[in-house]
Amino acid sequence: MAAPVCLEYRIEGNNFMTAGTASNNIKNTLKMLGIQSEVCRRAAVIAYEAEINLVIHANGGILKAVISEDRLEITAKDEGPGIPDIEQAMTEGYTTASNQAREMGFGAGMGLPNIKRNSDLFEIESTPGEGTMLKSTVFFNK
Protein backbone atom coordinates (compact mmCIF):
# COMPACT_ATOMS: atom_id res chain seq x y z
CA MET A 1 0.00 0.00 0.00
CA ALA A 2 1.28 3.43 -0.93
CA ALA A 3 1.04 6.13 1.73
CA PRO A 4 -2.18 8.14 1.35
CA VAL A 5 -1.91 11.54 -0.30
CA CYS A 6 -3.09 14.32 2.01
CA LEU A 7 -4.16 17.69 0.72
CA GLU A 8 -5.11 20.33 3.25
CA TYR A 9 -6.37 23.86 2.65
CA ARG A 10 -7.23 26.68 5.00
CA ILE A 11 -10.32 28.32 3.52
CA GLU A 12 -10.85 32.01 4.16
CA GLY A 13 -14.35 33.09 5.17
CA ASN A 14 -16.40 35.38 2.92
CA ASN A 15 -13.71 35.57 0.25
CA PHE A 16 -15.71 34.82 -2.87
CA MET A 17 -12.92 35.59 -5.29
CA THR A 18 -10.68 32.71 -4.29
CA ALA A 19 -13.53 30.27 -3.59
CA GLY A 20 -13.06 27.21 -5.75
CA THR A 21 -9.27 27.21 -5.83
CA ALA A 22 -8.87 24.38 -3.33
CA SER A 23 -11.48 22.14 -4.95
CA ASN A 24 -9.93 22.78 -8.35
CA ASN A 25 -6.59 21.71 -6.94
CA ILE A 26 -8.09 18.50 -5.53
CA LYS A 27 -9.63 17.68 -8.90
CA ASN A 28 -6.36 18.24 -10.76
CA THR A 29 -4.53 16.00 -8.31
CA LEU A 30 -7.08 13.20 -8.88
CA LYS A 31 -6.61 13.56 -12.63
CA MET A 32 -2.87 13.35 -12.31
CA LEU A 33 -3.33 10.10 -10.41
CA GLY A 34 -5.38 8.72 -13.29
CA ILE A 35 -8.70 8.48 -11.41
CA GLN A 36 -11.69 7.97 -13.76
CA SER A 37 -13.28 11.11 -15.15
CA GLU A 38 -16.70 10.44 -13.58
CA VAL A 39 -15.21 10.05 -10.10
CA CYS A 40 -13.20 13.25 -10.62
CA ARG A 41 -16.39 15.08 -11.56
CA ARG A 42 -18.22 13.89 -8.44
CA ALA A 43 -15.25 14.68 -6.23
CA ALA A 44 -15.02 18.15 -7.75
CA VAL A 45 -18.67 18.87 -6.94
CA ILE A 46 -18.30 17.63 -3.35
CA ALA A 47 -15.10 19.55 -2.72
CA TYR A 48 -16.49 22.70 -4.33
CA GLU A 49 -19.77 22.72 -2.43
CA ALA A 50 -17.98 21.98 0.84
CA GLU A 51 -15.51 24.77 0.14
CA ILE A 52 -18.31 27.22 -0.69
CA ASN A 53 -20.12 26.29 2.54
CA LEU A 54 -16.98 27.15 4.50
CA VAL A 55 -16.77 30.49 2.69
CA ILE A 56 -20.38 31.62 2.96
CA HIS A 57 -21.65 30.06 6.19
CA ALA A 58 -18.80 29.18 8.50
CA ASN A 59 -16.45 32.15 8.26
CA GLY A 60 -13.77 29.81 6.92
CA GLY A 61 -12.36 26.49 8.05
CA ILE A 62 -10.22 23.56 6.96
CA LEU A 63 -10.87 21.52 3.82
CA LYS A 64 -8.99 18.25 3.70
CA ALA A 65 -8.76 15.55 1.05
CA VAL A 66 -7.16 12.19 1.78
CA ILE A 67 -6.59 9.99 -1.25
CA SER A 68 -5.94 6.30 -0.59
CA GLU A 69 -5.68 3.53 -3.13
CA ASP A 70 -9.37 2.71 -3.03
CA ARG A 71 -11.10 5.91 -1.91
CA LEU A 72 -11.15 9.64 -1.48
CA GLU A 73 -12.22 11.17 1.80
CA ILE A 74 -13.13 14.85 1.90
CA THR A 75 -13.50 16.52 5.29
CA ALA A 76 -14.65 20.07 5.93
CA LYS A 77 -14.25 21.28 9.49
CA ASP A 78 -15.17 24.68 10.84
CA GLU A 79 -15.77 26.57 14.04
CA GLY A 80 -18.72 28.47 12.63
CA PRO A 81 -22.26 28.94 13.93
CA GLY A 82 -23.24 25.27 13.44
CA ILE A 83 -26.47 23.89 12.00
CA PRO A 84 -29.43 23.71 14.44
CA ASP A 85 -31.59 21.43 12.27
CA ILE A 86 -29.56 19.19 9.98
CA GLU A 87 -32.58 17.55 8.39
CA GLN A 88 -33.91 20.92 7.32
CA ALA A 89 -30.46 21.94 6.02
CA MET A 90 -30.40 18.81 3.88
CA THR A 91 -33.63 19.85 2.09
CA GLU A 92 -33.17 21.09 -1.46
CA GLY A 93 -33.77 24.81 -1.76
CA TYR A 94 -33.45 25.53 1.98
CA THR A 95 -30.87 28.24 2.54
CA THR A 96 -29.66 30.62 5.21
CA ALA A 97 -27.17 32.37 2.94
CA SER A 98 -26.75 36.14 3.22
CA ASN A 99 -28.11 38.44 0.55
CA GLN A 100 -24.56 39.23 -0.49
CA ALA A 101 -23.84 35.53 -1.08
CA ARG A 102 -27.05 35.12 -3.04
CA GLU A 103 -26.32 38.13 -5.19
CA MET A 104 -23.05 36.42 -6.12
CA GLY A 105 -25.00 33.40 -7.31
CA PHE A 106 -24.34 31.25 -4.25
CA GLY A 107 -26.70 29.98 -1.60
CA ALA A 108 -29.33 28.30 -3.75
CA GLY A 109 -29.89 25.74 -1.02
CA MET A 110 -28.37 22.96 -3.10
CA GLY A 111 -24.97 22.59 -1.43
CA LEU A 112 -25.51 19.83 1.14
CA PRO A 113 -27.99 17.84 -1.00
CA ASN A 114 -25.50 18.03 -3.87
CA ILE A 115 -22.69 16.72 -1.67
CA LYS A 116 -24.83 13.85 -0.42
CA ARG A 117 -26.00 12.91 -3.91
CA ASN A 118 -22.41 12.61 -5.14
CA SER A 119 -21.01 10.79 -2.08
CA ASP A 120 -20.83 7.05 -1.45
CA LEU A 121 -20.67 7.67 2.31
CA PHE A 122 -21.83 10.88 3.92
CA GLU A 123 -21.63 12.05 7.52
CA ILE A 124 -22.36 15.40 9.10
CA GLU A 125 -22.11 16.44 12.73
CA SER A 126 -22.87 19.87 14.05
CA THR A 127 -23.19 21.62 17.38
CA PRO A 128 -24.76 25.08 17.33
CA GLY A 129 -22.24 27.63 18.52
CA GLU A 130 -19.29 25.26 18.14
CA GLY A 131 -19.07 24.27 14.51
CA THR A 132 -19.65 21.63 11.89
CA MET A 133 -17.76 18.57 10.66
CA LEU A 134 -18.66 17.13 7.27
CA LYS A 135 -17.15 13.96 5.90
CA SER A 136 -17.78 12.55 2.46
CA THR A 137 -16.28 9.41 0.93
CA VAL A 138 -16.08 8.39 -2.71
CA PHE A 139 -14.87 4.90 -3.66
CA PHE A 140 -12.81 4.51 -6.83
CA ASN A 141 -13.98 1.04 -7.83
CA LYS A 142 -17.53 0.35 -6.91
Binding site: A2, A3, V5, N24, M32, L33, Y48, E69, G105
Partner: protein
Protein backbone atom coordinates in the same frame (compact mmCIF):
# COMPACT_ATOMS: atom_id res chain seq x y z
CA UNK B 1 -2.02 15.15 -34.65
CA UNK B 2 -1.71 17.96 -37.19
CA UNK B 3 -1.25 21.59 -36.24
CA UNK B 4 -0.86 24.96 -37.91
CA UNK B 5 1.84 26.61 -35.82
CA UNK B 6 5.31 26.58 -37.31
CA UNK B 7 8.58 27.33 -35.57
CA UNK B 8 11.51 28.94 -37.31
CA UNK B 9 14.43 27.35 -35.47
CA UNK B 10 16.86 29.98 -36.78
CA UNK B 11 14.88 32.91 -35.42
CA UNK B 12 14.08 31.29 -32.05
CA UNK B 13 16.44 32.52 -29.36
CA UNK B 14 15.08 30.21 -26.71
CA UNK B 15 13.56 33.05 -24.68
CA UNK B 16 10.65 31.92 -22.56
CA UNK B 17 7.88 34.36 -23.53
CA UNK B 18 5.76 31.81 -25.35
CA UNK B 19 5.94 29.01 -22.82
CA UNK B 20 4.36 31.23 -20.18
CA UNK B 21 1.39 32.44 -22.21
CA UNK B 22 0.37 29.02 -23.50
CA UNK B 23 -2.98 28.20 -21.84
CA UNK B 24 -2.40 24.45 -21.93
CA UNK B 25 1.32 24.60 -20.99
CA UNK B 26 2.15 22.90 -24.29
CA UNK B 27 5.54 24.53 -24.96
CA UNK B 28 9.00 23.69 -23.63
CA UNK B 29 12.42 25.05 -24.44
CA UNK B 30 14.83 22.19 -25.07
CA UNK B 31 18.44 22.77 -26.13
CA UNK B 32 17.73 26.45 -26.72
CA UNK B 33 14.82 25.82 -29.08
CA UNK B 34 11.13 25.60 -28.48
CA UNK B 35 9.32 22.34 -28.71
CA UNK B 36 5.51 22.11 -28.90
CA UNK B 37 3.82 19.13 -27.25
CA UNK B 38 1.39 18.16 -30.01
CA UNK B 39 -1.18 16.47 -27.78
CA UNK B 40 -1.63 19.65 -25.77
CA UNK B 41 -1.54 22.35 -28.47
CA UNK B 42 -4.97 23.85 -29.23
CA UNK B 43 -3.80 26.11 -32.11
CA UNK B 44 -5.03 29.26 -30.37
CA UNK B 45 -2.05 31.34 -31.49
CA UNK B 46 -1.35 32.95 -28.10
CA UNK B 47 2.32 32.01 -28.51
CA UNK B 48 2.52 33.91 -31.80
CA UNK B 49 1.35 37.06 -30.11
CA UNK B 50 4.03 36.77 -27.44
CA UNK B 51 6.98 36.11 -29.78
CA UNK B 52 9.00 39.26 -30.41
CA UNK B 53 11.34 37.63 -32.94
CA UNK B 54 8.71 36.27 -35.29
CA UNK B 55 10.07 32.81 -34.67
CA UNK B 56 6.52 31.49 -34.55
CA UNK B 57 4.23 31.65 -37.55
CA UNK B 58 1.17 30.10 -39.12
CA UNK B 59 1.67 27.04 -41.24
CA UNK B 60 -0.81 27.60 -44.08
CA UNK B 61 -1.37 26.19 -47.55
CA UNK B 62 0.02 27.80 -50.69
CA UNK B 63 -2.20 30.73 -51.71
CA UNK B 64 -0.47 31.21 -55.06
CA UNK B 65 -1.47 27.75 -56.15
CA UNK B 66 -5.13 28.50 -55.40
CA UNK B 67 -4.92 31.92 -56.99
CA UNK B 68 -3.36 30.67 -60.18
CA UNK B 69 -5.71 27.78 -60.75
CA UNK B 70 -8.59 28.78 -63.00
CA UNK B 71 -11.95 29.54 -61.33
CA UNK B 72 -10.71 28.61 -57.87
CA UNK B 73 -13.42 28.23 -55.24
CA UNK B 74 -13.18 30.21 -52.02
CA UNK B 75 -15.00 29.76 -48.72
CA UNK B 76 -14.37 33.06 -46.92
CA UNK B 77 -14.46 33.36 -43.16
CA UNK B 78 -16.77 36.23 -42.12
CA UNK B 79 -13.67 38.07 -40.89
CA UNK B 80 -12.50 38.51 -44.48
CA UNK B 81 -15.20 41.14 -45.06
CA UNK B 82 -13.90 43.36 -42.27
CA UNK B 83 -10.33 43.75 -43.52
CA UNK B 84 -10.66 46.50 -46.14
CA UNK B 85 -11.50 50.15 -45.65
CA UNK B 86 -12.26 50.76 -49.33
CA UNK B 87 -14.43 47.73 -50.09
CA UNK B 88 -17.15 48.51 -47.57
CA UNK B 89 -19.91 46.25 -48.82
CA UNK B 90 -19.49 42.46 -48.88
CA UNK B 91 -20.77 42.55 -52.48
CA UNK B 92 -17.86 44.77 -53.47
CA UNK B 93 -15.40 42.19 -52.22
CA UNK B 94 -17.21 39.43 -54.02
CA UNK B 95 -16.81 41.45 -57.19
CA UNK B 96 -13.12 42.05 -56.50
CA UNK B 97 -12.54 38.32 -56.05
CA UNK B 98 -14.52 37.62 -59.15
CA UNK B 99 -12.36 40.03 -61.17
CA UNK B 100 -9.38 37.94 -60.00
CA UNK B 101 -11.11 34.86 -61.37
CA UNK B 102 -12.02 33.55 -57.92
CA UNK B 103 -15.50 32.26 -57.16
CA UNK B 104 -16.78 32.95 -53.63
CA UNK B 105 -19.32 30.66 -51.99
CA UNK B 106 -21.56 33.33 -50.47
CA UNK B 107 -24.99 31.82 -51.15
CA UNK B 108 -23.88 28.58 -49.53
CA UNK B 109 -22.36 30.42 -46.56
CA UNK B 110 -25.61 32.31 -45.96
CA UNK B 111 -27.56 29.06 -45.92
CA UNK B 112 -24.99 27.22 -43.82
CA UNK B 113 -24.79 29.86 -41.08
CA UNK B 114 -28.59 30.10 -40.97
CA UNK B 115 -28.75 26.32 -40.66
CA UNK B 116 -26.12 26.24 -37.94
CA UNK B 117 -27.87 28.94 -35.89
CA UNK B 118 -31.22 27.21 -36.41
CA UNK B 119 -29.78 23.86 -35.31
CA UNK B 120 -28.30 25.38 -32.14
CA UNK B 121 -31.62 27.11 -31.34
CA UNK B 122 -33.40 23.77 -31.79
CA UNK B 123 -30.91 21.97 -29.53
CA UNK B 124 -31.37 24.59 -26.81
CA UNK B 125 -35.13 24.25 -27.10
CA UNK B 126 -35.01 20.49 -26.76
CA UNK B 127 -32.47 20.39 -23.90
CA UNK B 128 -33.56 19.76 -20.34
CA UNK B 129 -32.85 22.49 -17.80
CA UNK B 130 -29.90 20.60 -16.31
CA UNK B 131 -28.29 20.14 -19.74
CA UNK B 132 -28.18 23.93 -20.19
CA UNK B 133 -26.15 25.97 -20.85
CA UNK B 134 -24.76 24.46 -24.03
CA UNK B 135 -21.51 25.74 -25.49
CA UNK B 136 -20.82 27.03 -29.01
CA UNK B 137 -18.40 25.00 -31.12
CA UNK B 138 -17.65 27.71 -33.71
CA UNK B 139 -14.21 28.51 -32.24
CA UNK B 140 -12.18 25.30 -32.78
CA UNK B 141 -9.71 26.31 -30.08
CA UNK B 142 -12.49 26.43 -27.50
CA UNK B 143 -13.44 22.84 -28.27
CA UNK B 144 -9.80 21.74 -28.06
CA UNK B 145 -9.39 23.66 -24.81
CA UNK B 146 -12.42 21.85 -23.37
CA UNK B 147 -11.06 18.49 -24.58
CA UNK B 148 -7.76 19.18 -22.84
CA UNK B 149 -8.66 21.11 -19.71
CA UNK B 150 -12.41 20.74 -19.09
CA UNK B 151 -13.37 17.25 -20.38
CA UNK B 152 -16.36 17.17 -17.99
CA UNK B 153 -17.95 19.92 -20.11
CA UNK B 154 -17.73 18.04 -23.42
CA UNK B 155 -21.34 16.86 -23.22
CA UNK B 156 -22.41 20.53 -23.27
CA UNK B 157 -20.65 21.37 -26.53
CA UNK B 158 -23.24 21.52 -29.32
CA UNK B 159 -22.77 18.63 -31.78
CA UNK B 160 -23.05 20.90 -34.81
CA UNK B 161 -20.46 21.08 -37.57
CA UNK B 162 -18.82 24.41 -38.31
CA UNK B 163 -20.97 26.43 -40.74
CA UNK B 164 -17.82 26.89 -42.83
CA UNK B 165 -17.69 23.12 -43.32
CA UNK B 166 -21.44 22.97 -43.93
CA UNK B 167 -21.12 25.65 -46.63
CA UNK B 168 -18.55 23.50 -48.41
CA UNK B 169 -20.74 20.40 -48.09
CA UNK B 170 -23.77 22.30 -49.47
CA UNK B 171 -21.76 23.44 -52.48
CA UNK B 172 -20.50 19.92 -53.13
CA UNK B 173 -24.05 18.58 -52.94
CA UNK B 174 -25.38 21.22 -55.32
CA UNK B 175 -22.67 20.95 -57.91
CA UNK B 176 -21.70 17.33 -57.40
CA UNK B 177 -18.14 18.51 -57.77
CA UNK B 178 -14.95 17.46 -56.04
CA UNK B 179 -13.05 20.56 -57.15
CA UNK B 180 -10.72 21.98 -54.49
CA UNK B 181 -12.21 24.45 -51.98
CA UNK B 182 -9.99 26.89 -50.12
CA UNK B 183 -10.93 28.33 -46.74
CA UNK B 184 -9.81 31.87 -45.91
CA UNK B 185 -9.14 31.47 -42.19
CA UNK B 186 -8.44 34.17 -39.61
CA UNK B 187 -6.47 31.90 -37.28
CA UNK B 188 -4.41 28.71 -37.03
CA UNK B 189 -7.31 26.94 -35.29
CA UNK B 190 -9.55 27.09 -38.34
CA UNK B 191 -6.71 25.96 -40.59
CA UNK B 192 -6.24 22.94 -38.33
CA UNK B 193 -9.99 22.33 -38.52
CA UNK B 194 -9.50 21.68 -42.24
CA UNK B 195 -6.46 19.44 -41.75
CA UNK B 196 -7.77 17.53 -38.77
CA UNK B 197 -11.59 17.72 -38.65
CA UNK B 198 -13.20 16.78 -35.33
CA UNK B 199 -15.43 14.26 -36.97
CA UNK B 200 -12.41 12.25 -38.17
CA UNK B 201 -13.78 11.91 -41.68
CA UNK B 202 -12.11 14.09 -44.30
CA UNK B 203 -13.11 17.76 -44.35
CA UNK B 204 -15.22 18.96 -47.29
CA UNK B 205 -12.68 21.80 -47.49
CA UNK B 206 -9.46 21.08 -49.31
CA UNK B 207 -6.99 23.68 -48.12
CA UNK B 208 -6.77 26.75 -45.91
CA UNK B 209 -4.87 30.02 -46.12
CA UNK B 210 -4.90 33.00 -43.80
CA UNK B 211 -7.15 36.00 -44.32
CA UNK B 212 -3.96 38.05 -43.98
CA UNK B 213 -2.26 36.41 -46.94
CA UNK B 214 -5.29 36.89 -49.20
CA UNK B 215 -6.05 40.43 -48.04
CA UNK B 216 -2.45 41.46 -48.75
CA UNK B 217 -2.53 39.77 -52.10
CA UNK B 218 -5.66 41.74 -53.02
CA UNK B 219 -4.13 44.98 -51.77
CA UNK B 220 -1.10 44.31 -53.95
CA UNK B 221 -3.38 44.29 -56.99
CA UNK B 222 -3.96 48.00 -56.43
CA UNK B 223 -7.38 49.63 -56.60
CA UNK B 224 -9.94 47.53 -58.34
CA UNK B 225 -12.95 49.48 -59.49
CA UNK B 226 -16.22 48.11 -58.32
CA UNK B 227 -19.51 49.38 -59.61
CA UNK B 228 -21.28 51.51 -57.05
CA UNK B 229 -24.70 50.56 -58.36
CA UNK B 230 -27.37 48.77 -56.34
CA UNK B 231 -26.34 45.42 -54.94
CA UNK B 232 -27.05 42.60 -57.39
CA UNK B 233 -28.81 40.58 -54.73
CA UNK B 234 -30.37 41.50 -51.41
CA UNK B 235 -28.18 39.97 -48.71
CA UNK B 236 -29.09 39.62 -45.03
CA UNK B 237 -25.39 39.56 -43.96
CA UNK B 238 -26.24 37.83 -40.67
CA UNK B 239 -23.49 35.30 -41.15
CA UNK B 240 -20.84 38.00 -41.54
CA UNK B 241 -21.58 39.20 -38.01
CA UNK B 242 -20.15 35.94 -36.64
CA UNK B 243 -16.76 37.63 -37.07
CA UNK B 244 -17.23 39.51 -33.84
CA UNK B 245 -18.19 38.54 -30.36
CA UNK B 246 -21.92 38.08 -29.94
CA UNK B 247 -22.70 37.66 -33.65
CA UNK B 248 -23.44 33.96 -33.38
CA UNK B 249 -25.52 34.52 -30.23
CA UNK B 250 -27.67 37.10 -31.95
CA UNK B 251 -28.17 34.75 -34.89
CA UNK B 252 -29.21 31.89 -32.58
CA UNK B 253 -31.58 34.23 -30.74
CA UNK B 254 -33.14 35.25 -34.06
CA UNK B 255 -34.11 31.62 -34.63
CA UNK B 256 -35.41 31.00 -31.10
CA UNK B 257 -39.03 31.35 -30.03
CA UNK B 258 -38.22 32.38 -26.48
CA UNK B 259 -35.84 34.98 -25.09
CA UNK B 260 -32.55 33.21 -24.39
CA UNK B 261 -30.06 34.01 -21.66
CA UNK B 262 -26.76 34.14 -23.48
CA UNK B 263 -23.20 34.72 -22.35
CA UNK B 264 -20.82 35.83 -25.11
CA UNK B 265 -17.18 36.26 -24.09
CA UNK B 266 -13.96 36.76 -26.00
CA UNK B 267 -10.27 36.56 -25.16
CA UNK B 268 -8.32 33.65 -23.68
CA UNK B 269 -8.61 34.75 -20.08
CA UNK B 270 -12.34 35.37 -20.25
CA UNK B 271 -12.84 32.04 -21.98
CA UNK B 272 -10.85 30.18 -19.31
CA UNK B 273 -12.73 31.93 -16.49
CA UNK B 274 -16.13 31.24 -18.08
CA UNK B 275 -15.40 27.55 -18.56
CA UNK B 276 -14.03 27.29 -15.04
CA UNK B 277 -17.13 28.92 -13.57
CA UNK B 278 -19.37 26.71 -15.66
CA UNK B 279 -17.51 23.61 -14.50
CA UNK B 280 -17.99 24.68 -10.90
CA UNK B 281 -21.72 24.93 -11.52
CA UNK B 282 -21.95 28.69 -11.09
CA UNK B 283 -23.64 29.57 -14.38
CA UNK B 284 -27.13 28.37 -13.61
CA UNK B 285 -29.90 29.93 -15.64
CA UNK B 286 -27.76 30.52 -18.74
CA UNK B 287 -28.94 28.87 -21.99
CA UNK B 288 -26.05 29.36 -24.37
CA UNK B 289 -22.38 30.23 -24.04
CA UNK B 290 -20.38 31.68 -26.90
CA UNK B 291 -16.64 31.68 -26.19
CA UNK B 292 -13.96 32.95 -28.57
CA UNK B 293 -10.33 32.63 -27.52
CA UNK B 294 -9.38 35.77 -29.48
CA UNK B 295 -10.12 39.18 -28.03
CA UNK B 296 -13.13 40.88 -29.71
CA UNK B 297 -13.94 37.60 -31.47
CA UNK B 298 -12.63 36.18 -34.74
CA UNK B 299 -11.63 39.65 -36.01
CA UNK B 300 -8.92 39.40 -33.32
CA UNK B 301 -7.42 36.24 -34.85
CA UNK B 302 -3.64 36.08 -35.36
CA UNK B 303 -4.08 35.46 -39.08
CA UNK B 304 -5.86 38.71 -39.93
CA UNK B 305 -4.44 41.68 -41.84
CA UNK B 306 -5.95 44.69 -40.13
CA UNK B 307 -6.46 46.06 -36.62
CA UNK B 308 -9.10 44.12 -34.70
CA UNK B 309 -10.52 47.40 -33.43
CA UNK B 310 -11.06 48.81 -36.91
CA UNK B 311 -12.35 45.49 -38.18
CA UNK B 312 -14.82 45.41 -35.30
CA UNK B 313 -15.99 48.94 -36.14
CA UNK B 314 -16.49 48.06 -39.81
CA UNK B 315 -18.56 45.03 -38.82
CA UNK B 316 -20.88 47.43 -37.04
CA UNK B 317 -21.51 49.40 -40.20
CA UNK B 318 -22.33 46.40 -42.38
CA UNK B 319 -26.07 46.49 -42.93
CA UNK B 320 -27.57 43.40 -41.32
CA UNK B 321 -31.11 42.10 -41.38
CA UNK B 322 -31.83 40.12 -38.21
CA UNK B 323 -35.45 39.35 -39.05
CA UNK B 324 -35.83 35.84 -40.41
CA UNK B 325 -38.30 35.87 -43.29
CA UNK B 326 -40.76 32.96 -43.54
CA UNK B 327 -38.94 31.87 -46.68
CA UNK B 328 -35.57 31.82 -44.88
CA UNK B 329 -37.10 29.92 -41.95
CA UNK B 330 -38.55 27.20 -44.15
CA UNK B 331 -35.21 27.00 -45.97
CA UNK B 332 -33.39 26.42 -42.65
CA UNK B 333 -36.00 23.84 -41.60
CA UNK B 334 -35.59 22.02 -44.89
CA UNK B 335 -31.78 21.91 -44.59
CA UNK B 336 -32.11 20.85 -40.94
CA UNK B 337 -33.90 17.66 -41.94
CA UNK B 338 -31.22 16.80 -44.49
CA UNK B 339 -28.79 15.66 -41.80
CA UNK B 340 -25.76 17.59 -43.05
CA UNK B 341 -25.18 19.51 -39.81
CA UNK B 342 -24.75 17.00 -36.93
CA UNK B 343 -21.37 15.86 -35.67
CA UNK B 344 -21.51 12.09 -35.99
CA UNK B 345 -18.97 11.06 -33.34
CA UNK B 346 -18.96 12.17 -29.73
CA UNK B 347 -16.26 14.67 -28.81
CA UNK B 348 -13.44 12.80 -27.11
CA UNK B 349 -11.45 14.14 -24.16
CA UNK B 350 -7.75 14.73 -24.61
CA UNK B 351 -6.64 14.46 -20.98
CA UNK B 352 -3.08 14.59 -19.74
CA UNK B 353 -1.45 11.26 -19.07
CA UNK B 354 -1.58 10.27 -15.39
CA UNK B 355 1.74 9.95 -13.57
CA UNK B 356 1.43 6.17 -13.83
CA UNK B 357 -1.11 3.58 -14.96
CA UNK B 358 -0.91 2.05 -11.53
CA UNK B 359 -2.59 4.09 -8.78
CA UNK B 360 -0.18 3.09 -5.99
CA UNK B 361 2.78 3.97 -8.20
CA UNK B 362 1.14 7.26 -9.19
CA UNK B 363 0.63 8.12 -5.52
CA UNK B 364 4.30 7.51 -4.77
CA UNK B 365 5.26 9.72 -7.70
CA UNK B 366 2.85 12.41 -6.56
CA UNK B 367 4.55 12.50 -3.14
CA UNK B 368 7.96 12.75 -4.82
CA UNK B 369 6.62 15.50 -7.00
CA UNK B 370 5.43 17.43 -3.95
CA UNK B 371 8.84 17.09 -2.33
CA UNK B 372 10.65 18.25 -5.45
CA UNK B 373 8.24 21.14 -5.84
CA UNK B 374 8.75 22.22 -2.24
CA UNK B 375 12.48 22.56 -2.91
CA UNK B 376 11.99 24.77 -5.98
CA UNK B 377 11.86 28.59 -5.80
CA UNK B 378 8.18 28.90 -6.92
CA UNK B 379 8.78 31.97 -9.06
CA UNK B 380 7.91 30.29 -12.37
CA UNK B 381 10.75 32.08 -14.14
CA UNK B 382 10.84 29.68 -17.06
CA UNK B 383 14.65 29.43 -17.10
CA UNK B 384 14.44 25.64 -16.90
CA UNK B 385 12.47 25.68 -20.15
CA UNK B 386 9.19 24.73 -18.47
CA UNK B 387 6.22 27.03 -17.89
CA UNK B 388 6.18 26.63 -14.08
CA UNK B 389 7.93 25.04 -11.11
CA UNK B 390 4.97 22.68 -10.87
CA UNK B 391 5.46 21.56 -14.49
CA UNK B 392 9.17 21.04 -13.82
CA UNK B 393 8.51 18.89 -10.74
CA UNK B 394 6.07 16.84 -12.77
CA UNK B 395 8.54 16.29 -15.60
CA UNK B 396 11.28 15.21 -13.22
CA UNK B 397 9.10 12.46 -11.71
CA UNK B 398 8.09 11.44 -15.21
CA UNK B 399 11.79 10.97 -15.92
CA UNK B 400 12.44 13.98 -18.14
CA UNK B 401 15.03 16.25 -16.59
CA UNK B 402 16.77 16.76 -13.28
CA UNK B 403 16.58 19.25 -10.42
CA UNK B 404 19.75 20.97 -11.66
CA UNK B 405 17.79 22.23 -14.67
CA UNK B 406 16.68 24.88 -12.19
CA UNK B 407 19.34 27.60 -12.15
CA UNK B 408 18.62 28.37 -8.50
CA UNK B 409 19.11 24.74 -7.48
CA UNK B 410 22.22 24.58 -9.66
CA UNK B 411 23.61 27.66 -7.91
CA UNK B 412 22.90 26.08 -4.50
CA UNK B 413 24.66 22.93 -5.68
CA UNK B 414 27.73 24.84 -6.85
CA UNK B 415 27.88 26.79 -3.62
CA UNK B 416 27.73 23.56 -1.56
CA UNK B 417 30.42 22.05 -3.74
CA UNK B 418 32.65 25.12 -3.39
CA UNK B 419 32.33 24.97 0.39
CA UNK B 420 33.31 21.35 0.31
CA UNK B 421 36.39 22.16 -1.80
CA UNK B 422 37.50 24.77 0.73
CA UNK B 423 36.99 22.28 3.53
CA UNK B 424 38.94 19.58 1.71
CA UNK B 425 41.78 21.95 0.95
CA UNK B 426 42.16 22.58 4.69
CA UNK B 427 42.77 18.94 5.49
CA UNK B 428 46.46 18.08 4.98
CA UNK B 429 48.47 14.93 4.54
CA UNK B 430 50.83 14.18 7.51
CA UNK B 431 53.96 14.47 5.35
CA UNK B 432 53.35 18.18 4.75
CA UNK B 433 54.46 20.79 7.23
CA UNK B 434 51.66 22.74 8.80
CA UNK B 435 51.73 26.38 7.80
CA UNK B 436 52.97 28.56 10.64
CA UNK B 437 53.34 25.46 12.82
CA UNK B 438 56.41 24.41 14.81
CA UNK B 439 58.83 21.77 13.52
Amino acid sequence: MEHSIKVSKDACQGCVNCIRVCPTEAIRVVDGEIDIIEELCIDCGECLRSCCRSALGIYEDDWNRTKESSRAMIVPDPVFFSQFSHYGRPDDLEEVLSSLDLKTLIDEAEDAFDLSAYAVAQLINRSSKTALPVISVYCPSVLRLIQTKFPELLSRVVPVLSPLEIAATLWRMRTNSDAPLTLLAPCPAKITMVREPFDKTASPLTSAVTVRKVARSIMAEGDINVEKGPAPKKRNNRWIQWARRGGESRHVQAFSDRKLTILAVSGMRNTLDTLQELELGRLRGVDFIECRVCDTGCVGGVGTADSRFLANLRMGSIETDWNISPKELSRAEELFTMGIWPVKNEYQPRPRLPLSDNLADAMVKLQQMKEIYNGLPHIDCGSCGRPSCQAMAEEIVRGHGSVTDCIFKLREGISALANQIVKLSESQPHTLKRKGGKC
